[in-house]
Symmetry: C2
């Protein structure tokens, strides 16, 4: 029951009158909560991607359960990033990022993996904000794919509108 949950008060304060959290509210709240620690706070773009991951009805907002789910995922990714960024430089190397993605259980061929890691790099390194954006997108797009691949054959059909709606929102 939400009212007995220690995070409920926090959620309602952030969500405001409409009772849901949009991308700008999420950015403010994650920045204030300091989840990024010593790293740069999350960009609005990454917060939009976070909303997109859980926003099944495309309202651009997040309810309490989604918020808790996101929080748990972020904590795990943060821990993961800290474990790889051993020298606390705030960035990780491409080969470390490859390793991290594979260890999350994604089975990708080397060219896909290398294209993805390159996309989220800056001057050949991966910053925390981009790392999280990449993790969120990988999870969201894999979810999109799995929901349509009910026979688990590794191949899905998309109609144009459905394809755009899923991919543009993330």
């Amino acid at each position: 029951y939400a009212a007995g949950d220690p995070m409920w008060g926090y959620f309602t304060a952030v969500a405001g009158q409409d009772g849901e959290i949009d991308a700008e509210e999420l950015q403010r709240c994650l920045t204030q909560a300091g989840i990024h620690g010593t790293y740069t706070p999350f960009s609005l773009e990454t917060c939009r991607v976070m909303i997109g991951m859980l926003d099944m009805d495309y309202t651009g907002k997040m309810g309490f359960n989604e918020f808790k789910e996101l929080w748990a995922a972020l904590s795990a990714w943060k821990q993961n990033f800290c474990a790889i960024d051993r020298d606390r430089s705030g960035t990780v190397e491409p080969h470390e990022m490859n390793q991290a993605i594979l260890s999350m259980g994604y089975r990708l061929n080397p060219s896909t993996l290398s294209a993805i890691v390159k996309r989220y790099s800056k001057s050949g390194r991966i910053y925390f904000d981009d790392y999280v954006a990449c993790c969120v997108k990988l999870r969201a797009l894999t979810d999109v794919f799995r929901r349509r691949d009910s026979m688990q054959q590794g191949i899905v059909n998309f109609m144009y509108d459905d394809f755009l709606q899923c991919t543009m929102a993330i």
Copy 2:
């Protein structure tokens, strides 16, 4: 022939030793060229999306022909945005954005359109950088779809790796 093209000297100066333009070089060059005019310069994220639109071999870089193609597309989108943003506030309204997308020839159902416009809004308005990111993604994802929809039936198959590679890069 490239060497006779007035943009060739500009391109080679921006591209540097490797002869291709990556997202950071693109951001610097678009900012210096002032394509954004009085609007906020393009974010690195939007520049990555621009590269992703034309980067068929997933190197994260752009050659001379791609660069010219991008330049032409950007000029058209800029003109389009200026035409909608009549009061020069730097933002356009959701219904104006809907109209702009439809007038580009995209046939989207209203729920898809509304989800997309919401995704690229900030406080209920659309800024130039987000407008361009949205136009680039719409074009890139529609291209991805069309290349697979050779029979023009409005439905395509995706394998998991192919799906991720296409969508994560944009």
